[in-house]
């Protein structure tokens, strides 16, 4: 496993070399092979694990055909991703600091949305999630899917 980081987050554009909208082939050319990948015919997506990140190549939720474009990246514990000097996964004050930039939606839900930043923070509020903490960064054209996802608490 290749350790990644620090990577810089550009809202709804990229995390480090992983640009939203790119195909997995393009990403592979730039960043090399992932640590692990699988293709899920149920969710119609390709998932790549790269250190503490998981990259999702897919179409809209509920798509019936696979679309090989990077749509979402999830950050897991230990991920080294920075935005405006904020260590997204490891800064204890991340919610407050991001809130200074963008008012979160659904702060009482398990997943809160920073709409203008294209970020969902899971497990950072009062209600915990199974993964304990997780951040989802998504492409601009995926906003609706993920905002709806966060709006429903369960």
């Amino acid at each position: 496993m290749t350790a990644l980081g620090p990577l810089h987050f550009d809202p709804m554009v990229a995390i480090g070399p992983f640009g939203f909208g790119a195909t997995w082939k393009t990403i592979e050319k730039m960043a090399g092979e992932p640590d692990f990948f699988d293709v899920d015919d149920v969710m119609k997506e390709r998932r790549e694990t790269r250190d503490k990140l998981v990259l999702y190549y897919r179409g809209p939720l509920g798509a019936t055909r696979q679309v090989n474009r990077l749509r979402c990246i999830t950050l897991h514990r230990g991920a080294d991703v920075l935005f405006n000097g904020i260590d997204l996964m490891n800064d204890r004050a991340v919610v407050n600091k991001l809130s200074d930039l963008d008012k979160p939606l659904y702060p009482e839900n398990p997943y809160m949305v920073f709409r203008e930043l294209g970020l969902i923070l899971g497990g950072f509020g009062r209600i915990k999630i199974k993964e304990k903490k997780l951040i989802m960064a998504y492409a601009k054209d995926a906003r609706r899917d993920y905002e709806e996802f966060a709006a429903k608490p369960f």
Binding site: D41, V42, M43, P60, L61, G62, A63, T64, T74, Y106, E108, N109, G122, I127, I129, K130, E131, L134, M136, D145, E148, F149, A151, K152, P153, F154
Partner: protein, 344 residues
């Protein structure tokens, strides 16, 4: 198997069109013969079948539940219910006999802002009571003012609610497999736990609560104060919804066939709550398909998921589920053949 984050051994929701009716909105029927029977705008029945089950006979009336006065001589464990009460607004007009109702389809008005409550009731003041999108128990007045009753009640995953005459409501908490009773003063009491997917609830004329236990194919009769219970009916197929008829000795149970799985296997399915965020994404994706009436694609998700994880084990059940979907005109013959071809 679009399931809530439950530990239920059984999930029938995918093939239950009634689940789809009130998602995101509330359909107000302007003419119906029985408020417990939902007219389903998707064209299918609200449940797969309805099974009458007698009460007062041996399945229910045998052993006393509490042994106390509550079960005897008409004494009522919640007091004064008499004929089952009318939680929907103070003893108004009796429902029309179905033979007198207007020709289908009944007209309806759609109200918005009801996003998460699979079931709801009206309290003694005529307020809507339901679960909001944050898992809170809320009240909404007739003029649309919503107030918080109880924050984050239970697991937030509810599948049935009944109002009791004392102003409390009892809720089927699917996520915790329990019955939660919420009192007007904000106190929440777990009446009974260990239920397998409680899915539909009503109060009988005897003052007891009757809960459809979808995962165990049975209906329990539960004392609303102390939670003591007996089996009121069993051997049903996916009970999903209970309602008393005008005959106090008969209640009806909706049957919503689905896929029977062991609890352990169910926890491994893509839609199960234990899958965490991927499970929620799975449910969201499937819900989007259902909302677009792409039934075959929604079913295909489960067929592929189950076939891949448990090859051979649930092939027969999956095929039965597909046959049922065809019988409800949810899928075409061609889709049926294709789906059956996916069953491994």
């Amino acid at each position: 198997m679009r399931s809530e984050p439950s530990q239920g051994a059984y999930d029938s929701s995918m093939l239950c069109p009634s689940r789809l009716v009130t998602r995101g909105s509330l359909l107000v029927l302007l003419a119906s013969c029985d408020p417990d029977v939902t007219v389903n705008p998707t064209g299918g029945g609200s449940t797969g079948a309805i099974s009458p089950a007698p009460i007062g006979g041996s399945p229910v009336g045998g052993a006393p539940i509490t042994g106390g006065a509550a079960t005897e001589g008409g004494a009522n464990p919640v007091g004064g219910m008499g004929g089952g009460g009318d939680p929907q607004g103070g003893g108004g007009e009796a429902p029309l006999p179905c033979s007198e109702m207007v020709a289908a389809p009944a007209p309806f008005e759609q109200l918005f802002g009801f996003t998460s409550s699979e079931d709801f009731v009206f309290d003694q003041y005529g307020n809507y009571v339901g679960i909001d999108s944050n898992g809170n128990l809320v009240r909404t007045t007739k003029d649309g003012f919503t107030s918080l009753w109880i924050p984050s009640i239970g697991s937030g995953s509810m599948a049935g609610m009944v109002a009791l005459p004392d102003g409390s409501v009892v809720i089927c908490d699917v996520g915790n497999g329990s019955l939660q009773r919420a009192y007007p003063n904000g106190v929440v009491q777990t009446i009974l736990g260990g239920l397998q997917y409680p899915n539909g609830i009503d109060m009988g004329p005897d003052g007891y609560i009757y809960v459809a236990e979808n995962g165990d194919d049975q209906v329990r009769r539960v004392h609303p104060d102390n939670g003591q219970w007996t089996i009121a009916a069993e051997g049903m197929i996916g009970p999903n919804g209970v309602a008393f008829s005008d005959d106090p000795l008969v209640f009806y149970v909706g049957s919503c066939p689905g896929l029977h799985m062991s609890k352990k296997d169910h926890a491994k399915t893509g839609s199960h709550g234990s899958q965490g965020t991927p499970g929620k994404l799975y449910r969201d994706a499937q819900e989007k398909l259902l909302s677009k009436k792409k039934w075959a694609d929604a079913i295909a998700m489960d067929v592929k998921d189950v076939s891949k994880k448990f090859p051979g084990k649930y092939k027969k059940s999956l095929r039965e589920m597909i046959d049922y979907a065809r019988s409800q005109d949810l899928i075409t013959d061609a889709q049926k053949r294709k789906l059956k071809g996916m069953c491994k």
